[in-house]
Symmetry: C2
Subunit: 409 residues, 2 copies
């Protein structure tokens, strides 16, 4: 059961001028499933992306990096589910390139103008023939108001499609930002991967796009974790069709850039948090904030140690305020000179620990009250500096084990 | 259900001359439970230990470190279950010291000659009064052939006591090594902690003991992981009563030292592996070997990434040869310049992956056959050097979630 998440209403998803989306059933792994999507971009669009840091990155990720590095004028994204084309060696690279060549032929483009994305079973051969056979139907389906369908088309074990949209005013023009994402584990069982696609018509100088996508990812997809596993295929792409009627944004410090950036971050955070809300077996949405660190890196260490601890996650599943587990996780987070006698811990509004020990005033029933909520905030004060960070995660339930143990069988 | 583990036969546990063990029911947390143990050492014994690296280490660990640093002549160990005395701040330190003072009075020793150990619920006040009240009964129970009872006395959620023993010939004398351990998660749910106590009568120079205990821990307890959580209370202690009738060992490179070291490592590995075999919810015992690394540190990174991956662990629980998850874990292990096209993967005798891709000859039924075993070996070749390492872990089952989610409720 997703945590406070519902399917998007297609009427809420504003089309982005210059973007069309098409989806079809290509039978990549299973029949009768929307598993092949294309996102077609008008000429003049700019595209930037961030990709998995996993050294065992999938073939499509390698090809995306090559095509973006070639500074080709990207005009189409090709996304299949059912097969991740990861752990497939040299043959996988060839097949990823074949997919691009096939779509490029239909669209009269060069293969470098296509970015390929795959998500699904690892270590299986990508059925390029089925993808090629599905392309004409996907292209025929392409239309601007197809975001909700595309959100469904990139799902694997997600229980709900994920899509958000908003509009902001920039330089007197209405600018749209619409995005979709998928994923229910940082790496999905066989169905690997987080994917995120965000498009805007903002007229932003192409040279600024990489900074914006990196910043948006750092504030959103790079702050979520479900099980600590990093996918071989994670990809997040920002598209700017640049068709809005305002003056071009050329300075990241301008008021216009700030407006755009805030909106990009906001939609990215919604898309990223939706992945946690739909996390495999999730019953709780947990925000972990570390305050008073010397720098953000050590705050992140502590936050992820808590977020990845199976003991913390199972306690949240049980609504058991077994909060010593949080202290223990902070203790092994790898902050070498951490002084435990300075540590504070709050659970929402409940002050549990001060100076590294349980507060005499703390009552277990207060902790219990918060633990029963579906949305919970953990706040740890390190009291050794001014840095802070927040990550979002979910609990670890029986359902997680069931999904991941039983998926392929 | 523990994996290929059974309770020790008391007749197999050789007494160690100079060591007596006593156990009683002190009602630390629950009534009618053996929860308080003393290990009494003859004068002339030497003691060394290694302790948790968790910065949030428990009060008894801090006191152990102080007492060992004071180079006091350690004569007794005091161990309680039911309460970890961790996350208890300054008050916890006072209570750990009070326990030592109480036992020291009974034995006419200085408090610094006592080492305290606690395991159990975190963030609760240690009931020193109950421990003090139980001391006379524990001391009265002390006898040399009480190892099996002590192994039971230090259990928390362990399903079986853990004790091993062996004898070796050194310099014409029979030398005994007997040890006990507890733990079923690297940190137990509320019942935190791995504890290990190893005693020998070998006549080893006291100055060599720290090197021997560190070496034994590195080859055993430091190579196991159940859930990646590091306890606040982990402790492993080596006692040498030095009563054996051989010439004193003063050189770590001597043949006698090698014999002793090999026996210490062997018993330590049995004790450590027993913890994994009794791991919370474990149904499989998994050995992970990384070969061909540049150094042992990067081999360990890859091994632990595999061992901690919830996706790998749930696949083993399901006997599902979903082996791409192992490659993905190696990929995010943090080996920055890893070349995926060099990676090899074996599952026992089955060669699954070569050059980073699935071997055409690999058949899923071969992987399936190995996955159904209760003991499984994973072997990853990085093919970039000559270093190697092995760690031991277990799978992640529904039972793990049940134990950790439901324990306190």
């Amino acid at each position: 059961m997703p945590v406070n998440l519902s399917a998007p209403n297609p009427a809420d998803l504003h089309p982005v001028p210059g973007v069309k989306l098409g989806v079809t059933m290509a039978g990549v792994r299973k029949a009768n499933r929307r598993d092949l999507s294309v996102i077609l971009l008008d000429e003049g669009s700019a595209v930037a992306g961030v990709f998995t840091k996993n050294r065992f990155c999938a073939a499509p990720v390698q090809v995306c990096r090559e095509h973006l590095a070639a500074q080709a004028d990207v005009r189409a994204l090709l996304i299949n589910t059912g097969n991740a084309n990861a752990g497939t060696g040299e043959d996988g690279l060839i097949r990823a390139r074949q997919s691009c060549i096939a779509l490029a032929r239909y669209l009269n483009l060069a293969p470098e103008q296509i970015l390929p994305f795959s998500t699904g079973v690892i270590m299986e051969t990508l059925p390029v023939d089925r993808i090629q056979a599905g392309l004409s139907a996907a292209i025929a389906d392409a239309k601007p108001d197809n975001w909700a369908v595309a959100a469904e088309g990139i799902m694997t074990t997600d229980t709900l499609p994920k899509a958000y949209s908003r509009q902001v005013q920039i330089g007197g023009a209405t600018v749209t930002i619409t995005g979709i994402s998928k994923g229910a584990g940082m790496i999905k069982p066989n169905m690997a991967t987080m994917l995120g696609f965000l498009a805007t018509d903002a007229k932003v100088a192409p040279g600024l796009l990489q900074a914006l996508v990196t910043e948006a990812a750092d504030a959103s997809f790079n702050r979520i974790t479900i099980d600590g596993d990093t996918s071989t295929n994670d990809s997040f792409v920002l598209i700017a069709t640049r068709q809005a009627a305002h003056a071009e944004i050329t300075d990241l410090n301008s008021a216009e850039a700030q407006t755009l950036r805030a909106a990009l971050v906001a939609v990215s955070q919604q898309l990223a948090q939706a992945i946690v809300r739909d996390g495999e077996g999730a019953t709780k949405f947990i925000s972990i904030t570390i305050e008073g660190g010397r720098d953000e890196a050590e705050c992140a260490k502590a936050a992820y140690a808590i977020a990845h601890s199976p003991l913390v996650k199972t306690a949240f599943f049980a609504s058991d305020p077994n909060l010593g587990r949080i202290l223990a996780a902070v203790g092994y987070a790898g902050i070498d000179d951490l002084d435990q006698s300075l540590i504070d811990l709050h659970l929402d509004d409940v002050h549990v620990v001060t100076k590294g020990g349980r507060r005499p005033e703390y009552r277990e029933e207060d902790g219990q009250r918060v633990m029963k909520q579906s949305e919970i905030g953990i706040r740890v004060g390190l009291n050794r500096g001014t840095a802070t960070t927040t990550v979002w995660t979910c609990d670890l339930s029986h359902e997680y084990v069931t999904i991941n143990a039983d998926y392929r069988s």
